[in-house]
């Protein structure tokens, strides 16, 4: 029984990682209707920037804030410069641009920082909460921060005029322009926010998986799955999806098929969920009109 509890808690911890990146993916989808495959690599690059600052002597929270700000700005710039030319292009071309970004960020990070793993500090205490052996303070902190970011994003989109404008721009660009929304800038803002959320995710993930250029490749797949399982347009769904995927993966690996088929079965189950609910557990069902 204790072992099972341990697996579930460990799964929630890993799920927290997936949830944080999944939030960035949902963020970018809600504002641009695209899933950015390069989100993981951008988050990784942001984390390297933070590492640079911390190594140069900057205290953690200053580096954190600076990195989030720089990432926000970088996201805006990337949208305006790189994504804008393909804004109206077919979705496959847009995906190719994302892949190009992914490859560029990964390669440049490897070139500048080499591929040896680096440690990234955690702002949370080293001692586990109540001395428990199941989940570290950092992992709990990751879950906490993810939930906090989730609530903040939800509030932003739901209750602020800017959030409303962004959602409108993503869903119906033409009508939005007619009511005076600067669609282009809304998209850029969306990218900026997603990049910022990604940077936070990266800085939370790095202490657990260690900082190296390929650190996000495994996480991205699960984050992608989590976001879709929860419903790509629903941030709550994405976070729940993250936890679900994390626990599922652990339980499947420990009790169902063993580690040799863990990845396969986890993916099969995720696809299975999608077959039952094709727009995710909490996604909106679209009724298309002729």
């Amino acid at each position: 029984m204790e072992a099972f509890l341990h697996q579930v808690l460990s799964g929630l911890a890993t799920g927290g990682i997936y949830a944080s990146l999944a939030l960035a993916l949902v963020m970018i989808y809600q504002s641009t209707n695209h899933i950015n495959f390069a989100q993981g690599e951008m988050a990784m690059f942001s984390t390297y920037l933070a590492w640079n600052m911390i190594n140069a002597g900057l205290p953690y929270w200053w580096a954190f804030l600076l990195t989030v700000t720089i990432s926000f700005a970088a996201g805006v710039v990337i949208e305006r410069v790189i994504i804008r030319p393909v804004e109206n292009a077919p979705v496959l071309s847009v995906i190719t641009v994302f892949i190009a970004l992914l490859v560029i960020f990964n390669s440049v990070a490897g070139w500048i920082y080499s591929y040896t793993i680096k440690t990234f500090p955690s702002p949370f205490p080293e001692q586990p909460l109540f001395g428990n052996r199941f989940i570290s303070s950092h992992e709990l902190g990751t879950i906490g921060v993810t939930l906090a970011v989730l609530v903040a994003l939800y509030a932003f989109f739901r209750f602020t005029p800017l959030g409303l404008a962004m959602r409108a721009a993503a869903q119906n660009a033409t009508s939005s322009r007619l009511v005076g929304i600067r669609v282009g800038w809304m998209l850029a803002l969306g990218w900026g926010l997603a990049a910022a959320v990604g940077a936070i995710a990266g800085m939370l993930i790095a202490p657990i998986v260690y900082l190296e250029p390929n650190m996000m490749s495994g996480v991205l797949l699960y984050a992608f799955a989590a976001a879709l399982v929860g419903g790509i347009d629903n941030p709550f769904g994405a976070v729940l999806g993250g936890f679900l995927v994390g626990v599922l993966e652990n339980v499947v690996g420990a009790y169902v098929v063993g580690t040799e088929l863990k990845l396969t079965v986890a993916l099969v189950l995720i696809v299975g969920v999608l077959l039952v609910k094709p727009t995710g557990l909490f996604g909106r069902v679209f009724v298309t009109r002729v």
């Binding site: 209707n33 899933i35 790189i82 030319p85 393909v86 292009a89 077919p90 979705v91 496959l92 071309s93 995906i95 190719t96 641009v97 892949i99 190009a100 970004l101 992914l102 490859v103 560029i104 990964n106 390669s107 440049v108 490897g110 070139w111 797949l221 992608f224 799955a225 879709l228 790509i232 040799e260 088929l261 990845l263 396969t264 993916l267 099969v268 995720i270 696809v271 999608l274 077959l275 094709p278 727009t279 995710g280 298309t288 002729v290």
Partner: protein
């Protein structure tokens, strides 16, 4: 028509004018071209995004390897079997995929690609697949004692298969079936209202697309002479997607352009920069997407039309991107 014949003649002459190593590379271009044609059918013409074609390629490759290594089959008998096997798998995968579209379908296919290496390493089937060690394949010699090197012979063999599959594909896409397929992509409800059996066509397209990829996988395995789980990672599927976008979505000639791109541009990028070659590759990707939004095929078509003036013939089917 004349242009095509000239091209074909050049392709046949190629292995005799370049070194064996280049023949090997161009052989891979032919293999990838068959894959990209298959993928184009599904994603370009039919609008179903697949990020998992690397899995079908792997199945075809392993089918060929197992038949040759365990059962002593000759290499030329393996592509049809690989194709048939992948058709079945593709069709079966296409059935549940009917319920998914857009990003969700992309994830489902991507999941297949990501899981493939692990499945190939599974110990229960290790005695067939060779597990993590893979299977080594012997390269066939030219038949009937013809004076060709194995590389040259294999290239011509692949070329012959490519021509057959391209002609078949062109026929398919040009006729009723092709129109039904693109109608499903552009307006599924209208197509259904007109009597197109959505489920059947979509699944069949998946099957045929997988068939093409499986045949290519079998050929690829013989060319490389080795199959192992590490040869078929998720990156391969992404590579194929890049291939059809760069080459030209919903275009047959695009398959060849795309194949040339994914085979040679990484090498070229490597020569340009030892420090960050993939960054250069990424920049190439961006350049191609910006400058040639309809792919190389679209660009060529535009240039051709401009050269011939307004009298250029229109295509019956105007290629468009897949639905989001």
């Amino acid at each position: 028509m004349l242009g095509l014949l000239v091209l074909l003649a050049a392709a046949v002459a190629l292995p005799f004018v370049v070194s064996n190593y280049r023949v090997f590379q161009f052989n891979m271009v032919l293999v990838y071209a068959i894959v990209l044609l298959g993928l184009n059918m599904l994603t370009g013409y039919n609008g179903q995004i697949s990020l998992g074609h690397g899995a079908f390629y792997a199945i075809g490759a392993y089918a060929a390897a197992i038949l040759m290594d365990h059962f002593g089959w000759p290499y030329w008998a393996t592509p049809p079997v690989a194709g048939a096997l992948c058709f079945v798998f593709g069709f079966l995968f296409g059935l549940p995929a009917l319920r998914l579209s857009g990003h969700y379908l992309a994830l489902a296919t991507f999941a297949l690609a990501v899981a493939m290496p692990q499945i190939l390493k599974y110990k229960r089937i290790e005695q067939w697949t060779g597990g993590v060690q893979g299977i080594v394949i012997v390269k066939p010699d030219a038949p009937f004692g013809w004076k060709l090197t194995p590389d040259q012979w294999l290239y011509l063999f692949t070329l012959a298969i490519l021509v057959i599959m391209f002609v078949l594909g062109w026929n398919l896409l040009r006729g009723r079936v092709g129109r039904a397929i693109t109608a499903i992509r552009d307006h599924p409800m209208a197509a259904q209202a007109m009597g197109v059996n959505l489920a059947l066509y979509k699944s069949l397209t998946f099957g045929v697309s997988a068939l093409y990829t499986g045949v290519a996988g079998a050929l690829g395995a013989v060319v490389v002479q080795f199959v192992a789980p590490d040869s078929f990672t998720a990156g391969l599927s992404i590579n194929f997607l890049i291939g059809i976008v760069i080459g030209g979505v919903a275009s047959i000639s695009g398959a060849v352009y795309g194949a040339l791109f994914i085979q040679f541009v990484p090498n070229f990028a490597d020569q340009l920069s030892k420090a960050a070659p993939w960054a250069i590759y990424g920049i190439f990707l961006l350049a191609f997407v910006y400058l040639m939004p309809t792919g190389v095929a679209g660009f060529v078509r535009l240039a051709w039309r401009r050269m011939r003036g307004a009298k250029g013939r229109e295509e019956a089917i105007v290629p468009r991107g897949a639905d989001s």
